[in-house]
Amino acid sequence: MFKVISKNLLLMIPTLLGIVIISFSFIRVIPGDPVIALSGERAMTPERYDELMHEFGLDLPLHEQFFSYLGDVVSGDFGKSIATRRPVVEEFFTLFPATVELSLCALFLAIVIGIPVGMVSALKKGKLVDNLLMGVSLIGYSMPIFWWGLLMIVFFSGYLGWLPVSGRISTQFFIEAKTGFLLIDSLLSGEEGAFLSTIRHLTLPGIVLSTIPLVVIARQTRSAMVEILDEDYIRTAYAKGLSKFRVVGIHALRNALIIVITVIGLQIGILLAGAILTESIFSWPGIGKWMVDSIYRRDYPAVQGGLLFISLIVMTINFIVDFTYALINPKLRK
């Protein structure tokens, strides 16, 4: 197992370097002058231009520019947002909890619904229930999720008037950000109704964001289960006189989980991509919306820093998934 992990870690090095190169090049390939892109100042005197040029180090040879950028990145300096004049890192960590909260809720929904659905479908393979569940999952799989979000708003907010359309919490509450996770902060604040309001705001975006991962998890659980239920060791388990519940819920599921965990890990990227749309639709103040807004505002340093940050997070998570996989798969343990 140690071998697997160290190999994966080694393979990450060139990838990391590549990601830094991409984000370094980003500012230099966008249309327009990098000085303007980095400073956001449009009208300036030539003196000011030279001054900025020097400040950003753009007067240095390219490779020196790169190494100085690499140094900045390693020391945790991801640039400064034009719009807010704050370091990107700071900005990022203010907004990141909102995205994490939303994504975790979505992932939680996807797992607790997706796995049982996949199992039921596998057990009833070819029967009406299976066809029904897989039919619905196909709809979910093909759903443009921004449209799905709009439909939810039309129905639950517009027609029924049950749930709020945007934001993380009703504006009447002022919650001090202790952890950044409103579910926790609202409980800590002790304000009456704050927690409920948080839940109500979380519901629609949570459902919308969970849709694709849920469907993928359900389908993969089903196909893994179908295959496993045909295995010899399942027959052995029945031959031991075990109940169906135990055979399916323990012997089969344990094997299926090895596959499903990998699938769940792969959903992280999908979740972050989905968060971009979901957050835009529900005005959710997370990094997805922030990235889109930054692109709209031509806040290129923010986009550059955000891109780098997000890819680092994706890579870290992928690594953790590989690690978990190695941990739960006895064949890789030794």
């Binding site: 010899d232 031959a239 031991k240 094997n255 006895p330 064949k331």
Partner: protein, 313 residues
Amino acid sequence: MLRIRNLSVYFQTIKGTFAAVNNFDLDLKQGEIVSIVGESGSGKSVCMLALMGLLSKNSIIKYDEISFEGKNILQLKDSQRRSYLGAKMSMIFQEPISSLNPCFRVGDQVAEVFRFHQGDSKKAAQDKTIDLFTQVGIADAKHRYRDYPHQLSGGMNQRVMIAMAIALKPKVLIADEPTTALDVTIQAQILNLLNDIRDKYNMALILITHDMGVVAMMADRVVTLYRGQQVEISDKEQLFSNPKHPYTVDLLASLPEEAKGKRLNSITGVIPPLHEIFTGCIYAPRCKFAVPECQKPIKMKSAGKNHLYRCIR
């Protein structure tokens, strides 16, 4: 103790429904070893899986009588039937490695039998398992307990399977080609182990095999199966000295003294596919002695005490 009359098993497939086993009869007494022999695909496994109620859903089982200690186990309620499986009647499978769950420690898989059937505590089940491992010849049982199937050799896995099957001292043990997947040297060890266990617990053993060598070494009685049909049932001595059915003769002929233990492969031709319908003798197409008469339905004939065969000769 175990009595089967007229057991037939059908499979529903896209190509239609066909019989994999026809009118299978069996009587089993305590302590006895009955061997079921036949080529690959003759329905040996299907027959026993039907008895255990372990066949896939696309199967249809028909029978006149199945009784185990006077009870029809296939008609029991699910929970009652399960109390027999793995406890009074258990089975060892063809492929030891794929028959063990790759995700669980082999020890825990065996201990599960104690825990599930007897409600033993984790510790008690563990101790019993380690004890059992030693009995079936697993050295260093304590450490092997914690291994996963892929870490053990085929022979070791088969010992684990045997431990699992005999954990609760069953009345009937079905061993489905327990040595086919193993090295020749290991084969003899496993067979000896089975024999010892049978002596010790006085249980009945149904031994499925391809291998006439194994039959010669182990069996009291022999059932020869050809494409789902019993063609000869006899005591071992009689079968070896006076085989009646041409198929049995051919099987025995494929066992020259020096080739003992090898898979039989010298009969020409292959088993006709299951969807082909026969009215007469199924072996006729491959039989040296086939005559037009063979196309008529053929009944079992007696050739002396405890010796039946299905042939017009």
